[in-house]
């Protein structure tokens, strides 16, 4: 354990507030505000884990979780970024991908075998002979992967989601972002600012620097300026602050997504955030470009901000003796500051030839810190952690070794462009800043701050303010938003700030891309995937010349940290190497080929910008299903429910899924079925009939008052999409039903197919407003008559009849005589709120007959015996109305109606090769073929739609779709079932329907 400096004004931890957690079974002590990584570092942990491929030791490198070096298992959750996770009392922390421990990993020897594993080696090996591949594959799988997850793991914690509205979203809570937020909020706009760290402040937050030439009137340290801005932002009524919130996606039309990690007072562990803004400001800042040299990821090598923030934010000195190899003033600043905090700085090497801040040079000199201009680290030494570093001049001519326990290495800065590119900014390589910068910005999106290459504090703040004002202008220019005067005032304010910003320092010159003069066998361009410079060269030599392809071939940038580490270096290295190796390019005249080498092309960045838990994305998802008004009563009666489409429906009423009792009860007595899920509609208005003529195949002008008409709707291929009944309520006023599945799409179907006609009609979806009881069986009339005084005798209310009456002077009923199940049946449509009462009445009335429920499966069998079809069960994409034997519904005379499906039916009706729906019974009293069994000869000739052992008929019957040459009654069909092992079973085509062919029962 190292001593913590606990008096710094920049600290974000509370050293007095201890937090005890468990690391590998032992108690460790951190302090409140520590991340798991800083707490471990404080406790002396240097090797956090082992790398994916070579099992190399890995440690703290960036402190922002840009690579998998410090990913650990926390509380059973694998791959947690410990640098971004606050330590909590009782947390259980474990290292990953080690055999033994991270310190002593038995797999560590693999690092020596790298020569066996050049780029893409697995494509060239392990397939000869073929028999070794399955064995090799097993080993690969075991070796690959980082964390471990048990199949019965249950994710603890509460996850939530919000979709807040905002005018302006600001990504990044640094000085530029905060200025942007304030500027827009001051214009009366609703602003959301999102910051990934648990506090606002960005790269001002840990810096005590107070440039002597600072432009602030009252010169003050940067961290206090940050805190001043933060308190303004947090107290602004128009600004909503989401801290500890990572933005993970930005999309067209200004959709921004992210997630927030809950604090002590939040009711969630993490919550998903999705915002549709009118304008977006991106002020995401920069990360450091990793310096490329041998063993550049050895524990003890870390980036500038990592070492600096460890000290300033967490009070931890990263090492005792440090060598710096940097390419940016922030490196010089850190060296000076860390020196003052007590670190021994052996030397500072700077790859830049010029451009250093003179003030910092003086400060270095004052402290007698040796400064090596034009030098760079070329190799870190030490098997598990750094004990020495070789420094070299850029041309490699002079080298020197320095003993140290810390190498602070950074090649310079690179902007965090992901938020822009995801929203389709096009990037261009800018040779001044050496940044990829946005060439074209997404609509209504503004960038600000360091990512533009700005380094001067005031420039950064003004750029933020300007971005905020521009975002405000976007909002105010939106239709019907604000008046002209306000817009004009805003425009002139923007002009004046633009002028002001031109007086300030612009984008700074960035350090050039340099690589240490080494072969690169252990120079890692991607830590997560163990990809070296050497691998990249090999890949390019094989003809892969586009960074995106190289990424695929070497996996560089596809690990847990995605592009964080290789994002900048890979494209630059590829450009450099391809330009140097001419053999990759022919002498072709095509400019597109030539352009490949010289200009660096960024690799694609993809969401989520930060790895995001599936639990977090899932948020607080609720299952939304529909229930009928009789839901609870049917459950009380033992209903076995199934989710079917949007509904929950009772499919069975006992454990006997053959439904014998339910079926026999309907055939011999009386049963009741909940048919409430049927689609129900009213269509009225002057052109209502025209619409029906368009969508139904029958002549709907023949619908008679007091009668129901059964018909079907087809699609433009002539396939049946729906069937149901239509009732005429008045002139151009109809009530009709659809199948359950079609209910949701019916109105849009009607409107779609009449969209060019300008017809005047009105449709109301009444599906949920009516509960439906299907009362079926020979005793149905007796039951119904008991609850109504209406004459429901066969003469007063015959088959296909429609009646409206009121039960007990209260409940209005629309009643239909239908026969789907083949028995005397009434379909009673009543207002849903009364459904429970009516259901109870029917049950009460049916008590003397021992009335029973029946479910959807019983209905399925009953109607099958009657050869009534269910769409989707006896029909599919290849079957049209005629194939199903429903041609009688089609009225060919109403040509003017342009009935949907008619054209296709006419064109296909004489085609002999189509499927036909047939009825069949099994031979020799055999059991029913299973649904889905095939009808075959030497080819597949059709399939069984529905077949059952019929209790009613005492034989196995079913319906099948078969090629038409097999459709004749008497034809023997051969049935191939799954798992039949070639043993066919046989059936014979028989006339349909099987049950009550004359319809006496349903009509009586």
């Amino acid at each position: 354990m190292i001593t913590r400096i606990n008096q710094l004004p920049t600290l974000r931890v509370d050293p007095a507030n201890k937090v005890v957690f468990d690391y590998k079974g032992k108690d460790y002590v951190g302090v409140k505000g520590d991340t798991v990584a800083t707490a471990l570092y404080h406790n002396g942990v240097r090797i956090f884990g082992r790398s994916l491929k070579y099992h190399r030791p890995r440690g703290l490198y960036s402190l922002d979780g840009e690579c998998s070096n410090t990913c650990m298992e926390i509380d059973g959750i694998p791959n947690v970024r410990t640098e971004n996770t606050l330590v909590k009392q009782g947390m259980k922390v474990k290292e990953q991908n080690v055999k033994g421990s991270a310190e002593n990993d038995m797999m560590g020897f693999i690092d020596k075998l790298d020569w066996m594993m050049p780029a893409g080696f697995y494509y060239k090996t392990m397939h000869k002979p073929a028999s070794i591949w399955p064995i090799a594959m097993k080993q690969i799988r075991k070796a690959a992967g980082l964390g471990v997850l048990s199949p019965d793991f249950e994710m603890p914690g509460k996850f939530d989601q919000i979709f807040p509205s905002a005018d302006v979203v600001v990504i990044g809570g640094g000085p530029a972002g905060m200025n942007a937020a304030l500027a827009a909020a001051d214009k009366g706009l609703r602003v959301i600012i999102m910051e990934s760290r648990p506090w606002l402040g960005g790269f001002f937050d840990y810096r005590t620097f107070d440039y002597k030439d600072a432009q602030y009137k009252n010169s003050k340290p940067l961290y206090s300026r940050a805190r001043e801005l933060a308190s303004k932002v947090e107290s602004h009524a128009n600004i909503r602050v989401f801290k500890h919130t990572s933005v993970v996606g930005t999309y067209t039309n200004n959709l921004v997504t992210g997630f927030q990690i809950g604090g002590d007072n939040d009711k969630f562990n993490e919550r998903y955030i999705e915002i549709r803004a009118k304008s977006v400001v991106v002020a995401a800042g920069c990360i450091e470009r990793p310096l490329l040299f041998e063993n550049n990821e050895r524990p003890g090598v870390m980036q500038v901000a990592c070492a600096h923030r460890l000290a300033r934010t967490y009070g931890i000195l990263a090492g005792e003796k440090a060598v710096f190899s940097v390419g940016h003033d922030l490196g010089l600043e850190a060296a000076v500051d860390l020196f003052d905090l007590g670190m021994k700085i052996i030397c500072v090497a700077d790859v830049r030839e010029d451009g250093q801040n003179p003030y910092l040079m003086i400060e270095l000199a004052k402290r007698n810190i040796p400064y090596l201009k034009g030098w760079v680290a070329s190799e870190a030494h030490g098997s598990k952690r750094v004990n020495k570093v070789t420094m070299t001049t850029l041309d490699g001519t002079i080298s020197r070794d320095f003993e140290c326990d810390l190498v602070v290495a950074s090649a310079g800065l690179t902007p965090i462009n992901g938020h822009l590119t995801l929203a389709h900014a096009k990037l261009r390589y800018d040779s001044h800043t050496n940044f990829f910068v946005a060439d074209t910005m997404p609509e209504k999106t503004h960038a600000a701050g360091r990512m533009l290459g700005l380094e001067d504090s005031l420039s950064i703040e003004v750029s933020g303010k300007l971005a905020g004002l521009n975002a405000a202008l976007d909002c105010k220019l939106m239709p019907q938003s604000y008046g002209n005067t306000e817009v004009d005032a805003l425009k002139s304010e923007i002009e004046s700030f633009t002028a002001q910003s031109k007086e300030l320092p612009g984008p700074a010159r960035g350090s050039k891309f340099v690589t240490a003069p080494v072969k690169g066998r252990k120079t890692f361009i991607c830590f997560d995937e163990d990809t070296t410079i050497k691998n990249i060269k090999q890949t390019i030599d094989m003809g892969f010349d586009v960074p995106e392809l190289i990424k695929r071939f070497t996996s560089a940038g596809t690990g847990p940290g995605q592009g964080g580490i290789p994002g900048h270096n890979l494209p630059l290295y590829v450009a450099k190497y391809t330009a140097a190796s001419s053999k990759c390019f022919s002498s072709s005249s095509s400019s597109s080929i030539q352009s490949l080498g010289a200009t660096p092309k960024p690799t694609n960045v993809r969401p989520p910008l930060v790895p995001t838990l599936i639990a977090t994305y899932s948020g607080s998802k609720h299952i939304m299903m529909k229930r009928t008004p009789m839901d609870e009563m049917q459950r009380a009666d033992g209903g076995v429910f199934r989710k079917i489409g949007v509904w929950e429906r009772a499919r069975y009423f006992s454990d006997d899924f053959s439904c014998k009792k339910e079926i026999e009860n309907v055939r011999n007595n009386v049963g009741m079925l909940d048919g409430s899920t049927l689609g129900k509609f009213r269509i009225h208005g002057p052109d209502a009939l025209k619409v029906l003529q368009r969508v139904y195949v029958s002549d709907m002008s023949k619908v008679k008052t007091g009668r129901v008409k059964y018909s079907a709707m087809c699609n433009d291929d002539g396939c049946v999409i729906d069937d149901g009944v239509v009732v005429k309520l008045a002139e151009n006023d109809y009530y009709f039903t659809t199948s359950t599945a079609r209910a949701g799409a019916t109105i849009e179907w009607l409107r779609y197919h009449t969209r060019f006609d300008g017809w005047d009609f009105y449709v109301v979806n009444l599906t949920d407003s009516m509960g439906v009881i299907n009362l079926s069986g020979p005793n149905a009339r007796k039951v119904l008559q008991k609850i109504t005084s209406e004459d429901v005798s066969n003469s007063a209310f015959p088959f296909s009849g429609y009646k409206e009456f009121i039960i007990k002077d209260t409940i209005p009923v629309k009643a239909m005589r239908l026969g789907f199940v083949g028995e005397l049946s009434y379909e009673l449509h009543v207002p849903s709120s009364y459904m429970v009462s009516l259901w109870n009445m029917v049950k009460d009335a049916g008590k003397e007959f021992n009335i029973q429920n029946f479910g959807v499966e019983a209905q399925n069998v009953l109607r099958m015996e009657k050869c009534h079809i269910i769409l989707g069960q006896e029909s599919e994409q290849r079957t049209n109305l005629l194939d199903l034997g429903l041609g009688f519904l089609w009225d060919r005379t109403k040509k003017d109606a342009k009935t949907i499906g008619a054209v296709a039916l006419r064109q296909a009706e004489n085609d002999p090769t189509r499927f036909r729906l047939v009825g069949f019974e099994m031979e020799n009293n055999g059991r029913a073929a299973r649904d889905g069994a095939l009808i075959v000869d030497d080819k597949v000739r059709g399939y069984v739609c529905t077949a059952r052992d019929s209790f009613t008929l005492n034989k196995a019957v079913g319906m099948a779709l078969v090629e038409s040459h097999l459709a004749k009654v008497g034809t023997r069909i051969q049935i191939f079932e799954d798992e039949c092992k070639g043993e066919l079973i046989y059936g014979t085509v028989v006339p349909m329907p099987f049950y009550d062919p004359d319809g006496k029962r349903m009509k009586s």
């Binding site: 990913c71 059973g76 694998p78 080696f121 697995y122 494509y123 060239k124 090996t125 392990m126 397939h127 073929a130 591949w133 690969i140 075991k142 690959a144 992967g145 980082l146 964390g147 997850l149 048990s150 019965d152 994710m155 998903y272 999705e274 030599d541 094989m542 003809g543 392809l549 071939f553 390019f585 022919s586 095509s590 993809r606 969401p607 989520p608 599936i614 994305y617 899932s618 998802k621 299903m625 199934r642 079917i644 499919r651 699609n715 291929d717 179907w749 779609y752 989707g872 069960q873 599919e876 994409q877 290849r878 296709a904 085609d911 649904d931 889905g932 069994a933 095939l934 399939y943 798992e979």
Partner: protein
């Protein structure tokens, strides 16, 4: 063991002024067609014209899942042959395609789905392809992470288990075929855009490219998601295709957890573990035409919701990367393999939807035969374009066609 690092698919060459066959699109179907044209039919004077780089499109963006458990008898034998080809090609190309035949488990969430599965299984078995129906408990034995409880949106009733299916390393197939084709002399021209196809008297005469005109009498357009737009744009032939963006994603890598490909139609979701340890998952398509390879916030959330329900342990995992590609969907979910019909010498291979990876080698094989002989081989005859005007959709899906890509 590894030798020198030489360009895998030949040195870059000048574009010639004529070729026997020009193939537009540098994806898997094109590379396979070129490979088989050269290997089986001795036609080696072939140019592949690719606007970006080989494998830029669907070839590098697909699920990597292979299987032969389709719905109809036209498709199953085709995909069966494709499955059988992986080991053969690994050997022929001397390139490890990393076929992991871990088997596919397709979840069923209702009685109706179980029936549909039984038909598909019977069709597979009838054609000698292994496939079995499992109940929910058996499915969980294979995939212990499955949630077979009732309290999810789509409770699991059972599954169709198809042992011979699995995963193939998709990029390896691209590079392997490119390597194989170029060995026979096929020229692969990357960064070269085909801009027009010229015809005379109903015959193909030449192809215009960004690098000059190529005279040829035979052109194949097999440019994946871009085919339909190219075919209409260059030749005025409209196709029953809707190009949709399909998305997929991976989680952070993990030690072995899933040993099979798991998929669910109801959840619009598949998941399998790559050799690297990532859980690869995806399947969603926005149901309107797109040529964008952008991804959506909507979908990554949807996917998380779905996985949270049926593979709940994955809630503790993190999504790392989401990407998308194009799927050229036809109304009957079957491709269009046609040629020498509207224009002599013009061939098309498109409409594979999201089945383009599984089928690429076998489609290349038969399209090569078609191009070489001028007559469609029996195996692919049913996949002609005219089936739509004859009202004979193939039935690879049972879904009815309405006005939209998703019905």
């Amino acid at each position: 063991m590894f030798g020198k690092y030489k360009p895998l698919w030949g040195e870059k060459t000048q574009l010639k002024s004529s070729y026997d066959v020009v193939i537009i699109g540098g994806g898997l179907h094109s590379l396979a067609t070129a490979y088989f044209l050269a290997k089986e039919h001795g036609i080696t004077d072939v140019a592949i014209i690719e606007k970006n780089y080989i494998g830029f499109g669907g070839a590098g963006r697909n699920t990597a899942i292979v299987r032969a458990n389709q719905r109809t008898q036209y498709n199953v034998p085709l995909y069966k042959e494709a499955l059988d080809l992986w080991p053969v090609l690994t050997k022929e190309l001397d390139y490890n395609l990393m076929f992991n035949n871990c088997g596919n488990l397709n979840l069923m969430h209702s009685e109706a789905a179980m029936k549909a599965a039984r038909m598909t299984i019977a069709t597979a078995q009838f054609h000698g392809v292994e496939s079995h129906l499992l109940d929910a408990k058996e499915a969980k034995e294979l995939v212990p992470a499955l949630n077979i409880s009732e309290d999810i949106t789509f409770p699991i009733h059972g599954a169709m288990f198809h042992p011979p299916g699995g995963i193939v390393r998709h990029d390896a197939v691209v590079w392997g075929l490119a390597k194989g084709a170029s060995k026979y002399g096929v020229q692969i021209h990357q960064q070269t855009e085909a801009t027009a196809v010229n015809t005379k008297n109903g015959k193909i005469v030449s192809v215009e490219t960004s690098r000059g005109t190529i005279n040829t009498s035979k052109v194949l357009i097999s440019a994946g998601g871009y085919s339909a737009s190219l075919i209409y744009g260059m030749l005025g032939i409209k196709l029953p295709i809707s190009v949709l963006t399909i998305q997929a994603m991976v989680t952070q890598p993990l030690k072995p957890l899933l040993n099979h490909v798991v998929s669910s139609g109801a959840y619009h979701c598949y998941a399998n573990q790559t050799l690297k340890g990532e859980i690869a998952t995806g399947a969603h398509m926005d149901q309107w035409p797109n040529y964008t390879t952008q991804t959506t916030a909507h979908y990554i959330k949807h996917q998380a919701e779905a996985l949270s329900e049926f593979l709940p342990c994955l809630r503790g995992l993190r999504f790392m990367r989401i990407w998308s590609g194009l799927a050229d969907m036809t109304p009957d979910m079957a491709p269009i393999l046609d040629g020498n019909d509207q224009i002599k010498g013009f061939f098309m291979n498109c409409g594979w939807g999201y089945f383009g990876f599984k089928s690429c080698t076998v489609s290349g094989k038969y399209m090569a035969e078609f191009i070489a002989k001028g007559e469609a081989p029996d195996m692919i005859k049913p996949f002609n374009l005219r089936r739509y005007e004859q009202h004979k959709l193939m039935g690879e899906t049972a879904e009815l066609v309405t006005y939209t890509p998703n019905n």
